[in-house]
């Protein structure tokens, strides 16, 4: 028996900041101190606090070490693990109280308001061992469904829970399953959409990396509910850790008889295979995803027929997002009433958000629906760094829109977000402060959709490109007020005429920034200035009277645009200046101004 467990985060965030080296060093030191029989090192999935990685937590004390370096390991092993003295210097400082005692991680601001359902095993178990999942009630829901419930009862339970698709559109999951169940066919399919492509979103990756079995179990339950015997997980090839762990999980589940023929002694057969996507954003759209699984080029097809009628290989198919599946086993085990007790009237349960952008605690949070954006940004996220002011948050990535500062107290759920011109999306939440130009943000997302448009339909292929050209004109100060109207018209045209979700939502970032930050667009057009100082073509650098004539800026300027004698005020030649900002970083006297 091990007296102490050391959990090291093995998610992508912590892996890239070196958690594997930490793990190796830890095991080496533990061996050196003769503790290998007493202390167990476990590599887990993501804890959520990616900003503080690499993360390490030591039980039974529950000590939370953050930003651990390889050099710290000998000290932690010889002090904490050998002699029992916690190295408080290296702890996450919020857990260290003023009297020196240590509070539980669940009491910290970041975790206090969270409620983990989909992420409940992430950072808790080792994802590469099926028995660790079984110990946390894993596969109990599948056992319950197979032995105590009829397929119809499973569907009724999911419907009653009010679970809606977590991929973004929010379609009721139970209804989707009942459509597929009602269609008779010799073969049906269960698919999992793990083609997470929104810039800034990484919750599906974290579930797959931290708790892959929950997806397998949920897909088997779905297979039982609709009468399917085969499942496919369509996952990015760019998620190597997730792919690796999923494959281990599938192999182990087959070995334990939890996938395959005659599961748990019943006559239910179900197996799952992986299909790797090459990273095209459009393959996250359900019809394109299925076309890609079939082996064709990933392009969408018109709906209807909907996948529940004619999906993969022309057979009835259900397709759910990773996070949706992660909720299913808990609903079966704890009941629909438990799940629907969380959230708002029409959006039940919890939602995972990937916090990014101008925020202190970058990472992954799971909150009950109905939590306000203010609670997410200020309490959980720790606010905006450097004392800057909150300007807006972008939800739903390139398909969504922004939530301005005056809507920060709106409770977040599917319907409220639609009402204020954004959408839930898959859960990326990018926070912006006063230094972000909203026109530039809209342009950024549009550049993404222009690149990712598959080209099958004209409104999306050509429409988004024309829209981007108009936006570029705005950021260069060449647009007119008529262009603004043209842009709006074009947006609605693209939305109404595109074939699939990609085109239908691509103009959203433009429309929502136009709705809430129209004055910023107008400033670009009428005053030829960018209020946030981002759009390079409109920014002017100049030198004020604070200049001491030290010549530092003139020496650093890469294009020689600054002239002036020693101890004399310098001047920037706007025609030569490339607006790189080096002079501003160099000046010690605050003499460079950006307007």
């Amino acid at each position: 028996m091990y007296r102490s467990h050391v959990l090291v985060c093995g998610g992508t965030g912590c892996t890239s900041s070196g958690s594997h080296q930490i793990c190796a060093e830890l095991e080496k030191e533990i061996k050196k101190q003769g503790l290998a029989e007493e202390v167990k090192v476990v590599m887990t999935g993501c804890f959520g606090l990616c900003a503080l990685g690499p993360i390490m937590i030591v039980y039974p004390e529950g000590s939370f070490y953050s930003r651990v370096k390889v050099e710290d390991i000998p000290e932690i092993v010889s002090e904490h693990l050998l002699k029992g003295r916690i190295v408080s210097r290296l702890l996450y400082q919020e857990t260290v109280q003023t009297d020196g005692s240590i509070k539980s991680l669940n009491e910290t601001n970041f975790y206090k308001k969270q409620h983990r359902v989909a992420l409940r095993n992430c950072g808790v178990i080792t994802p590469e061992n099926i028995e660790a999942y079984i110990a946390e009630d894993g596969y109990q829901a599948l056992a319950k469904a197979l032995t105590e419930m009829t397929p119809q009862q499973v569907i009724d339970e999911i419907s009653a829970s009010g679970l809606r698709g977590r991929g973004g559109a929010g379609f009721p999951t139970g209804r989707k399953w009942s459509f597929a169940a009602a269609n008779q066919a010799d073969q049906k399919y269960v698919c999992c959409n793990a083609d997470e492509g929104d810039p800034g979103a990484f919750m599906d990756r974290s579930v797959l990396e931290g708790d892959p079995h929950v997806v397998l179990e949920a897909m088997a339950i779905a297979g039982y509910a609709i009468g399917a015997s085969q499942g496919y997980i369509y996952v990015h090839a760019e998620y190597p850790i997730a792919v690796h762990r999923l494959q281990i999980a599938i192999d182990q589940a087959r070995e334990y008889g939890l996938l395959g023929k005659g599961i748990l002694g019943t006559d239910f057969n179900f197996d799952i295979d992986l299909r790797l996507g090459a990273g095209a954003f459009v393959c996250g759209e359900e019809t394109a995803l299925m076309t890609s699984i079939e082996g064709h080029r990933g392009e969408p097809r018109p709906r209807p027929p909907f996948p529940a009628v004619k999906g993969l290989f022309q057979k009835p198919t259900i397709l759910n997002n990773v996070e949706t599946y992660a909720n299913v086993p808990r609903i079966i085990l704890k009941g629909a009433a438990w799940f629907s007790s969380m959230g708002t009237e029409k959006s039940k349960g919890t939602k995972v958000f990937a916090l990014g952008g101008k925020i202190v605690n970058t990472g992954l949070v799971e909150i009950p629906m109905g939590t306000t954006l203010r609670e997410i940004v200020e309490d959980i996220g720790g606010g905006i760094p450097n004392g800057k002011k909150f300007k807006a948050a972008q939800t739903g990535g390139p398909s969504g829109g922004c939530i301005p500062a005056d809507k920060i107290d709106v409770p977040i759920d599917y319907d409220n977000l639609i009402a204020i011109g954004s959408m839930m999306g898959s859960g990326g939440l990018i926070v912006m402060d006063e230094d972000n130009c909203m026109v530039d943000i809209a342009k950024f997302f549009l550049e993404f959709t222009v690149d990712e448009s598959c080209g099958k339909c004209t409104p999306c292929r050509i429409g988004t490109r024309r829209l981007l050209e108009l936006l570029t004109k705005v950021t260069e100060g060449k647009a007119t007020m008529e262009d603004l109207d043209k842009m709006e018209q074009l947006c609605y045209y693209i939305k109404e005429n595109s074939l699939c979700g990609l085109g239908q939502t691509a103009p959203n970032p433009v429309l929502s920034t136009l709705r809430y930050f129209r004055e910023e667009y107008e400033a670009h057009i009428k005053d030829k200035s960018c209020p946030a100082g981002v759009c390079k073509k409109l920014v002017r650098y100049s030198i004020n009277d604070n200049c001491k004539g030290c010549t530092a800026c003139a020496r650093k300027c890469p294009v020689g645009a600054i002239s002036g004698a020693v101890k004399q005020k310098h001047v920037i030649d706007p025609a030569t200046c490339i607006k790189c900002g080096v002079c501003m970083e160099t000046c010690k006297f605050g003499a460079i101004e950006k307007k």
């Binding site: 028996m1 039974p60 004390e61 005659g262």
Partner: protein
């Protein structure tokens, strides 16, 4: 596996091993003095004996941790047992054999092994 019972058997087996990670105030704690004096007096075999005995009896809810020197070096190895709702019991001059008995009598059967405690040595 071919039945739900087998699934439950795995769950119960592993659950004990990961109980140490659950935050729980209602947990029995065994705290062993592991400063230089404790180690010199043989605290490490005592700790191993505790761990082995707990594992043998599947007592996953009991945690074993170490602490530093409390100043009574001549009484080492010293072991404190905290049972929630009861007073701390301090055992002194522990050996692996005594450790086994503390687990069996004190932790499993709720009878403090009075003859090993610090109170009995003072009399």
């Amino acid at each position: 596996m071919k039945s739900v019972e087998e699934l439950l058997a795995i769950k119960n087996k592993i659950k004990n091993q990961v109980d140490v990670r659950r935050e729980d105030d209602q947990r029995v704690r065994i705290v062993i003095g592991m400063a230089t004096c404790g180690i010199a007096a043989g605290a490490r075999p005592v700790m191993t004996a505790f761990l082995d005995e707990l594992a043998k009896r599947n007592l996953g809810h009991v945690t074993v941790s170490q602490t530093g020197c409390i100043g009574m070096c001549k009484l080492e190895p010293i072991v404190d047992v905290y049972v929630p709702g009861e007073e701390k019991v301090t055992y002194i001059k522990m050996t692996p054999e005594k450790a086994v008995r503390v687990v069996n009598d004190h932790i499993v059967n709720k009878n403090v092994v009075t003859e090993y405690t610090i109170g009995s040595s003072e009399k």
